[in-house]
């Protein structure tokens, strides 16, 4: 790992952590979403340190450009939440959760430190558009097709939640409304 990559890694990691803390600490939903955006862009920077250029671009394109936009849309649709203070947890529980976090962090840290791995230079063309495409569209065709199915499922689910009227249903509604208006007009005013 070169010095520049090391520098970029720590820079992006710090920003990603700051964004992540902002996401859970912010009480305003849209500020939380913006913190998430910061984390996502910093993660793209981390991908760059691993030579995964295409993945970095896709990360920004899909997560920053689409997923965060979806979050922002939902926040804008439902409006601000009523002012709520955080749940009044007892001191003991808070202490316990802190201990839990520390233990998890320690476990991960030591498990990674123990791995005696050397830094291997990636093969030529690694992470480039053509490199990834060559792998994906020859060796991973089935998962690739399954992605399309997954995306379809997403749409079906969204439509089940927020289905709107079809054209024929709209026409039906309009006809009924016109008929009601006509019957209302036909009756003499009382």
């Amino acid at each position: 790992m070169t010095d520049a990559k090391f520098l970029l890694f720590f820079f992006c990691a710090a920003i990603a952590l700051a964004g992540a803390i902002g996401t859970i600490a912010s009480k305003l939903p849209l500020r939380a979403a913006m913190s998430l955006l910061v984390t996502i862009i910093a993660l793209a920077g981390l991908y760059l340190t691993l030579d995964a250029q295409l993945l970095a671009a896709i990360q920004v394109l899909v997560y920053a450009g689409a997923v965060v936009v979806l979050f922002v849309f939902v926040i804008m649709l439902i409006g601000p939440a009523p002012e709520t203070s955080s749940a009044p947890g007892s001191v003991v529980w808070r202490m316990l959760s802190l201990v839990g976090i520390a233990m998890i962090t320690a476990t991960f840290a030591f498990s990674f430190v123990d791995v005696a791995s050397t830094w291997v230079a990636p093969p030529a063309g690694f992470g480039t558009v053509r490199g990834v495409a060559g792998e994906m569209y020859t060796k991973a065709l089935v998962p690739f097709e399954i992605v399309a199915m997954t995306l379809t499922t997403a749409i079906v689910g969204a439509l089940a939640i927020a289905r709107s009227k079809t054209a024929s249903e709209l026409a039906e509604m309009k006809r009924r409304r016109v008929a009601e208006d006509a019957s209302a007009a036909a009756q003499p005013a009382e």
Partner: protein, 119 residues
């Protein structure tokens, strides 16, 4: 590899400096004379009623989720298009199947009225 991205970081830096410069200039140079009327939300002269956040149509949500789906589709198409000639007919057929599934999604949305905006 990373040296190719150095100018990008510099560009982002310069763009941020330009934007911050404009921002600071207007915050410092502009006068500040708030009056009670000026501080009201602008609604063409009439007084605002109710909360400033209206409930919005769920159509926007459907548009957003469709956007996410088709944006991911586009993200898969770009690398394919760059390697299209090398992949040949096999790659083409794979993409036709992929696009066909998503076309079915689009048709499904169409038929279910998710693309209608009239009310």
């Amino acid at each position: 590899m990373l040296s190719a991205y150095l100018p990008v970081f510099l560009m982002l830096l310069v763009a941020t400096l330009v934007a911050l410069g404009m921002f600071t200039a207007t915050s410092l140079a502009g006068p500040k004379k708030p009056t009670p009327e000026k501080l009201l939300p602008y609604e063409s002269g009439s007084n605002t009623t109710g909360a400033s956040h209206l409930r919005q149509s769920v159509k926007f949500y459907l548009t957003a989720i469709s956007f996410v789906v088709f944006d991911i589709e586009a993200a898969f198409i770009y690398p394919w298009a760059a390697l299209f000639r090398d992949l040949g007919w096999v790659g083409f057929v794979a993409m036709v199947i992929f696009l066909a599934v998503l076309a079915i999604t689009l048709v499904y949305e169409w038929k279910k009225g998710a693309l209608e905006w009239e009310r």
